[in-house]
């Protein structure tokens, strides 16, 4: 009743779909890496919906960047631990 805008998930899938040509032309290994990026954006659909940004894809890009940064911080911490162990 009354819902005119697509849901966050629907919007996400539409945005993902709009890059299907780009994805098709990539190498297989690059396709998998691209899929990983979209999966990480999916972790933050609720926040993207609440953001109500005029251009949803900008929010999804930010979400991808967020996950990348978290992974980077995790790796950095592991690296530091390994380095201190090996002196």
């Amino acid at each position: 009743m009354g819902r005119t805008l697509p849901s966050a998930t629907q919007t996400f899938l539409q945005e993902q779909e709009s890059f299907s040509r780009f994805r098709r032309a990539l190498r297989r290994s690059d396709q998998l890496a691209l899929d990983d990026l979209f999966v990480s954006a999916r972790q933050h659909l609720a926040a993207a919906a609440y953001a109500s940004h005029a251009l949803p894809f900008e929010t999804f890009l930010l979400a991808m960047l967020l996950e990348e940064h978290k992974e980077m911080m995790r790796l950095r911490e592991q690296f530091e631990q390994l380095r201190s162990k090996n002196g």
Binding site: G2, T11, L55
Partner: protein, 176 residues
């Protein structure tokens, strides 16, 4: 891509296509929105907000300004459609009426009632068209019994555009 021309002032333009708010309509609205305020009356719960915003973005970076002067109203039954039209002042700015007939195709509304309501709605639409361009979009009727609604509307139109799907699917020619 099919392009809809800007509807001339003081006349009613009708656009019939399988989707009442598809590409041609979105592009037209985006173009109009650059020029000033406009009103969108949505009769089919089909206002494509995000796609419109993207279309506007390809034309200007000042998205917030445009967003704030495009107004949307929604009607979910044909009675609400009439109430909405009656309550819309006739301003010197374009009006886009999306999927006017969608709620009229509801089988639970008796035919004579849809007839009566449509007449009243059309009078209102003509009132709005006196001061500014009005574009009405419709989709083909779900059942042949309601086809007369489209005919009534088309008879009052100054200009009528119809988008049809190709009758037979395009066959992919083989490469070899």
């Amino acid at each position: 891509m099919d392009i809809l021309p800007i509807p001339p002032p003081r006349s009613l333009t009708v656009f019939c296509s399988p989707s009442a708010a598809g590409e041609p309509v979105i592009e037209l609205i985006a173009g109009l929105a650059l020029g000033g305020p406009l009103t969108i009356l949505d009769g089919g719960n089909c206002f494509p907000a995000y796609r419109l915003l993207r279309a506007v973005r390809t034309r200007t970076t000042n998205l917030p300004a445009v967003m704030q002067r495009v107004f949307v109203r929604r009607a979910f039954t044909c009675h609400q459609m009439l109430a909405m039209l009656e309550g819309t002042s006739s301003l010197p700015q374009p009006t886009i009426l999306l999927n006017l007939l969608s709620t009229f195709y509801d089988e639970q509304i008796p035919e004579h009632e849809t007839c009566r309501l449509l007449e009243s709605c059309l009078r209102q639409v003509e009132r709005l068209a006196q001061n500014a361009p009005v574009l009405v979009t419709v989709t083909p009727p779900l059942t042949p019994e309601r086809a007369f609604l489209v005919e009534r509307l088309s008879a009052r139109a100054g200009q009528l555009f119809v988008l049809e799907l190709p009758a037979s699917p395009v066959l992919q020619p083989s490469l070899f």
